[in-house]
């Protein structure tokens, strides 16, 4: 479609408004994390400070053990989201390719699981895990994160697999490929954009999860980043400089994962290339 010059100007203005609204908060938080304490609460507000400092960041990593939280969060999120993505590939594929008696019930239950508020589950989950002696355990939390992601990932994976022509797999199977072989050699590579989206989505959710982690983790060496950030504000008053630095550090891995994923979305590969 050809677009007029008028439209292009309109688009440029609108895109700029969206951009400003999106980046001002993050600019402000980065600025806050770099300000010296005297500038932080200065009035009138300082927009372009003359002195910048990294002291908030060094505080995070020296006094607040942020490197431990970072490692905990990274391992927990990466492992949980890889497992939930893998499991959703299996279940999503079966739901996309086969018809069976209880299929509608299974899909219905997957949707229903999305409606249950996390706080209804937490007390029963907590007593389950405390009976197993698995409180204050990152493994237990990982299992719960796989559980949180499994249903939605399956629903998404099914959606992506449905769009991939069945004929390609069938051809591979006639050539001697097993069902699992056909899935991983033919279907998964074709659905890679969708699978990347599922993985990123799970990773970001796990990385950011606060309420379950805050309930299940109670010692400093097990904390994840959201729990640590939460502890910064529950103590008397909020140290805005340190908290801002923590927010900035917490943002880095999700931005990397996000950049990786949005390449797939922007390229338009998600759906268009795969029409039967």
């Amino acid at each position: 479609m050809k677009k007029s010059k008028k439209y292009k100007t309109f688009r440029a203005i609108m895109l700029s408004i969206y951009l400003i609204a999106a980046i001002i908060p993050i600019y402000w938080i980065i600025l806050t994390s770099l300000k010296v304490p005297s500038d932080l609460y200065a009035y009138p507000i300082i927009y372009f400070p003359k002195v910048l400092t990294l002291s908030n960041y060094s505080y995070l990593f020296s006094f607040a053990h942020f490197s431990i939280y970072f490692k905990n969060s990274l391992l927990l999120s990466a492992i949980s989201s890889i497992i939930s993505t893998l499991l959703s590939i299996f279940s999503g594929y079966a739901l996309a390719r086969y018809n069976f008696k209880l299929k509608d019930l299974v899909i219905g239950l997957l949707f229903f699981s999305q409606m249950i508020p996390a706080y209804l589950l937490m007390v029963p989950q907590y007593s389950m895990f405390s009976n197993l002696g698995l409180i204050n355990s990152l493994t237990a939390l990982g299992i719960l994160y796989v559980n949180i992601a499994a249903a939605f990932s399956t629903i998404m994976a099914r959606g992506f697999f449905v769009r991939i022509p069945r004929s390609l797999e069938e051809a591979a199977m006639i050539d001697g490929c097993s069902k699992i072989g056909a899935l991983f050699r033919i279907t998964v590579p074709l659905a890679m954009p969708g699978i990347a989206a599922i993985f990123s989505f799970s990773f970001i959710n796990d990385w950011n999860e606060l309420f379950t982690a805050a309930l299940f983790l109670n010692s400093d060496d097990k904390y994840t980043i959201p729990v640590a950030l939460y502890s910064f504000i529950s103590k008397a008053g909020i140290q805005w400089g340190v908290l801002s630095a923590g927010l900035v550090v917490a943002l880095i891995p999700t931005i990397i994962v996000f950049a990786f994923m949005q390449r797939f979305i922007i390229s338009g590969l998600t759906q268009g290339a795969l029409k039967e």
Partner: protein, 308 residues
Amino acid sequence: MVRLLERRVLHVRRGARSAPLFIFWMILPVILIISIFTFYPTVNGIILAFENYSVFNFSNIHFVGLKNFNKILGDPLFWTALWNTLWWIILSVAFQFVLGFGLALLMREPFKGRGIYAGLVFYPWALSGFAIGILWSWLLNGQFGFVNDILMKLHIISQGVNFLSDPSWAFFSVILVNVWYGIPFFAIMLLAALQSIPEELYESAQIDGAGTFSRFFHVTIPYVSSTIFATLLLRVIWVMNFPDVIYGMTRGGPGGTTNILATYMINIVYYKSDYSLASAVGVFIITILTVYAIFYLQLTSKHGSGEF
């Protein structure tokens, strides 16, 4: 024809009987995990709602009938939270959707630096709701906040507004932040859907003399409608169960004016430690969402749920 032949070959080679077992093993892990860690605790949580389990009463737990539900229905804070939940969902989702769809439409045709632009405008999606809440409570701070300062510099207000502690502003503020947070979700989903629309559809519509609006309503909307229905369904469910932003900003205060059912429930757990009472609120939430989902799916079933 060829595909039919292939299917027959397949049928002969693999044998139709091996499929049920294969399906079973493929689905089993997910079903098992969700059954043990979601549905089993859900049943227990619902049972809890009819008992008297709290931090002050661990030993003498017994069935108390509808006592918890009556207690909640008699709490004015519950009614505020329920009413707020309705507005929270309607306003948040409506503005997230409209602004997100608008952004997707603006971004659908390539322009220079679109990848970088997408990264800069979509990043809120990668932040945690709680972090967003904290971040914005700093921006909206009554004394040192960016928003107040800008509004005063522009002479829109003459003195600082306490966005989060003034009851007449607080609820408006948390909704505004939730809208800001949710725009990228709709933009990403709808952009992906928009990019799959074949260009030929627009060309033939243009030949038929369709104008911009007509093309939008007769080509674009029908093509992405399944994405729209699916994302709206899920978004309403998520936003209802999404206390994170509010918790980062106000914890439901001042005086319960920014409570939605989800934060009301959390506050019962944190401040009263009455787990049975909190579970009763959870049962309300599940009931409302189930009724909504059934109603919604009935209403939209003719459009199919192919997207998900």
